[in-house]
């Protein structure tokens, strides 16, 4: 930039983002929202107020059949923020745009005939890890947030762009979230969400593993789904493909 007398007010840059896509299969909000609400209520809290893209490619309906306004309203009520659409016919995109949902262009994908997002088979071992550019979380250099007090029911702690280290217990009803790894040097009885910025290499470590829910990069397991995890023992959780692995520590 050349030197100016006036201070800069902004800069425009292109940016790439990883966004969740809600691929519509049914045009009726009343069919989509209740099921979605259910899933989100059980899903980790980091999805709250998350921006989301409405995928139109798989929708087999006429544009006038789709109640976009109702959908947007309903999503807002679920604390989900739709920011635009991807895919779909020209007419469908226009209908969506009238409801304030502009068409977005997927990085690397053609603007026009948008291929269904899952046309490219993803090898299980590499799912979600090799996504578009994102902040570099690899290895050393990542900051860590340290919490030395018990995390109590109703409390929510988010280590943005960092690992999270808790040297006390995380009680039932509490939620800890980190863009990186999570370490709990106490009992983990609440919810732990690691790799919240979509980092599938993130891990969760707990000295006493007794969680309500664990999630890594959007994959989650509720207590019932923990199977033969070493409950009550020192445990490490990581993602192998789309599978969550629980291994005893040490």
């Amino acid at each position: 930039m050349s030197s100016q007398t006036l201070p800069e007010a902004f800069r425009l840059r292109a940016g790439n983002f990883n966004l969740l896509v809600l691929r519509l299969l049914d045009p009726r909000p009343e069919a989509v929202l209740p099921a979605l609400g259910d899933q989100f209520r059980r899903a980790p809290g980091f999805l709250r107020f998350a921006p989301i893209v409405i995928g139109l490619a798989d929708l087999e309906a006429a544009p006038e059949e789709v109640d976009f306004r109702g959908l947007v309203e309903g999503l807002h009520k679920l604390e989900i923020v739709p920011i635009g659409t991807s895919g779909g016919s020209q007419a469908m995109k226009q209908a969506a745009q009238h409801a304030g949902l502009p068409p977005l262009r997927a990085v690397g994908a053609e603007a026009e005939p948008a291929p269904p997002p899952e046309a490219i088979p993803v090898p299980p071992a590499a799912a979600a890890t090799e996504a578009a550019p994102r902040p570099d979380f690899s290895g050393s250099g990542r900051a860590a947030m340290l919490v030395a007090e018990p995390v109590r029911s109703g409390q929510r702690i988010y280590a943005q762009g960092a690992d999270l280290i808790v040297t006390a217990t995380v009680n039932a009803g509490a939620e800890i979230i980190a863009d990186g790894n999570i370490h709990v040097y106490g009992a983990l009885r609440g919810r732990a969400v690691a790799g919240a910025a979509d980092d599938a290499t993130a891990r969760i470590f707990a000295l006493n593993f007794d969680p309500e829910l664990v999630a890594i990069a959007g994959f989650y397991a509720v207590r019932e789904g923990l199977g033969d995890a070493p409950i009550g023992k020192p445990t490490q959780v990581r993602l192998e493909g789309e599978e969550m692995r629980f291994a005893p520590l040490g």
């Binding site: 007090e149 018990p150 109590r152 029911s153 006390a168 217990t169 009680n171 039932a172 009803g173």
Partner: protein
């Protein structure tokens, strides 16, 4: 400056009012100038348990709304002369309590008293938030059961984020755990949480354990704080808790089931008091 102590729990019916009455009386018996405020507007229980319900003229809402002076609303206890009660209103709605109003009252009481106890309503809504807002210390009343422990955990989080001390980033509110209605027999049978489990989850210093005891109901029916029933185990346990609050190092009692009744008692069905 007086110390403001909130007696709180999240969950209802766990023994907050019983505890407020007992601890306030206990502190006053030890010569501390103590006032106990009922924040449970609409229910008004404390004055019954303190046995002063027939002496209530004005209440905290009257004071806040300028209809009475604080001194007119304060009821001096007839048994312990360093003890006073500020009753809640039975007729007003909860919104009559304002933070500014309570702030003024607490400031005024601070000049005359050593301890100001605030008997919180249940929940984590407005009334409970107001009761804990000015606290320097908190007595968290917990029953040995999962839902009560969970609510206490919740209220501890609220104390450290929504109290005046938290908002002003001062030293944190000092926390005390008081486990009440502890029934060693039911604990032994696995029907109630063990004391160790409660302590482990809440991870704050233990002020005392009050056993489940019939004398509590008797005391409240006669309007006598149970701490005055020096024969009862609950009264003794509260007395110990007050002692610990004042810095004494006392062993915890009444944690084990009472001795098995002897043959004679079993045959004739004797009942322990």
């Amino acid at each position: 400056m007086a110390q403001v102590i909130v007696v709180t729990s999240g969950k209802g019916g766990v023994g907050k009012t019983t505890t407020s009455a007992a601890v306030a009386t206990g502190l006053a018996q030890r010569g501390k100038k103590t006032v106990v405020i009922d924040f449970d507007v609409g229910l008004r229980n404390l004055d019954l348990i303190m046995g002063v319900e027939r002496r209530v003229v004005f209440d905290i809402v009257n004071v806040i709304q300028g209809e009475a002076r604080l001194n007119q609303a304060l009821i001096r206890d007839k048994r312990v002369d360093t003890l006073a009660i500020l009753p809640a209103s039975q007729t007003r709605d909860k919104d009559a309590l304002t933070r500014e109003g309570v702030s003024t009252i607490i400031e005024e009481l601070s000049a005359d008293f050593d301890y100001i106890l605030c008997d919180s309503p249940a929940g984590i809504e407005k009334g409970a938030l107001l009761a804990l807002y000015f606290a320097d210390q908190a007595i968290v009343v917990t029953n040995p059961e999962v839902s009560s422990v969970r609510d206490s955990d919740r209220i501890l989080g609220v104390l450290q984020s929504k109290s005046k001390r938290a908002e002003e980033k001062k030293d944190k509110v000092k926390e005390h755990l008081l486990v009440t209605r502890y029934d060693p027999n039911r604990v032994e049978r696995g029907e109630m949480l063990k004391l160790e489990d409660v302590r482990e989850i809440l991870a704050i210093p233990l002020l005392g354990v009050i056993p489940e005891n019939e004398s509590v109901l008797k005391a409240s029916n006669t309007g006598t704080p149970v701490i005055m029933d020096t024969e009862s185990v609950a009264g003794q346990a509260y007395k110990d808790a007050v002692g610990r609050f004042l810095g004494e190092d006392l062993p915890h009692r009444f944690l084990e089931p009472a001795k098995k009744p002897g043959l004679f008692q079993r045959l004739f069905g004797g009942r322990a008091a």
